[in-house]
Symmetry: C2
Subunit: 128 residues, 2 copies
DNA sequence: CAGGATCCTTTACGATACTG
DNA sequence: CAGTATCGTAAAGGATCCTG
């Protein structure tokens, strides 16, 4: 016996109106999740090639394991590139890809916000 | 004997030039860390007040526990406000504070990037 | 409805060693 | 130098039940 099921469309209430935007945010943050991605990207975006040890020093507080993992992660997503040089011992350079550089506006906004508003907490008025 | 020491300035190589910027990024991300903050903020920024259950539905995938925790966290940082209404049973509304709304440019950039570039991965040229 | 309490599983993260 | 391996802690995340 074939029971015909009403093809129940997903309810499109107000919630769904700007769903694309929310999906876009989710998508982006999937690439940038984790405690260190923005920090690393901010560092790589301000100059050029950096070696592993450079990053270990510049990204304050990160350990080798996390740095390694985050770099691999972002390399897989084509945000940064990894170049091994024929020196001895080997030198490895990391830098932003062109694709990764398109993240600059995001990082810039974050840096700008941090500069402008972090101190705003001090003179808290009745800002609720 | 006074040995005149060259007043060795702390080495200001490229690393230190934009240190403030990096600190600003770290600061900002401290407020926005976690898997769900951007998602929740993006949702709250696109409309007005939302109740707990609304957010539970809109923020796709989050559970009650995490939502509760993230909301408390952001309320503590004055990014959002929580209002309890005298209904029965109680209604609780969340919305962005004026301070929280200053995050809009960041969220916008993230949403914009997600919309523009998430599909870029499909037609990968030799972008390396 | 808006959550908190409890329990349990899975990642995330960190410190310390060790290798090519 | 540029990592990996190993181990241990902390936080994320889910399920279920409970309360005002």
């Amino acid at each position: 016996m074939n029971i015909i099921r009403m093809k129940k469309e997903p309810i499109l209430n107000n919630s769904a109106i700007c769903k694309g935007r929310i999906l876009a945010i989710k998508d982006t943050m999937e690439l940038l999740s984790g405690k260190w991605k923005f920090h690393i990207l901010g560092t790589l975006l301000q100059g050029d090639k950096l070696r592993f040890m450079d990053l270990l020093r510049e990204v304050d507080g990160i350990g080798a394991k996390m740095l390694s993992k985050e770099l691999q992660d972002m390399e897989m997503n084509h945000l940064i590139s990894r170049t091994v040089l024929n020196t001895k011992p080997v030198t490895v350079e990391y830098e932003m890809t062109d694709y990764g550089k398109t993240l600059a506006p995001i990082i810039d906004e974050i840096a700008k916000w941090g500069t402008a508003y972090r101190n705003a907490l001090h003179n808290e008025s009745g800002n609720q």
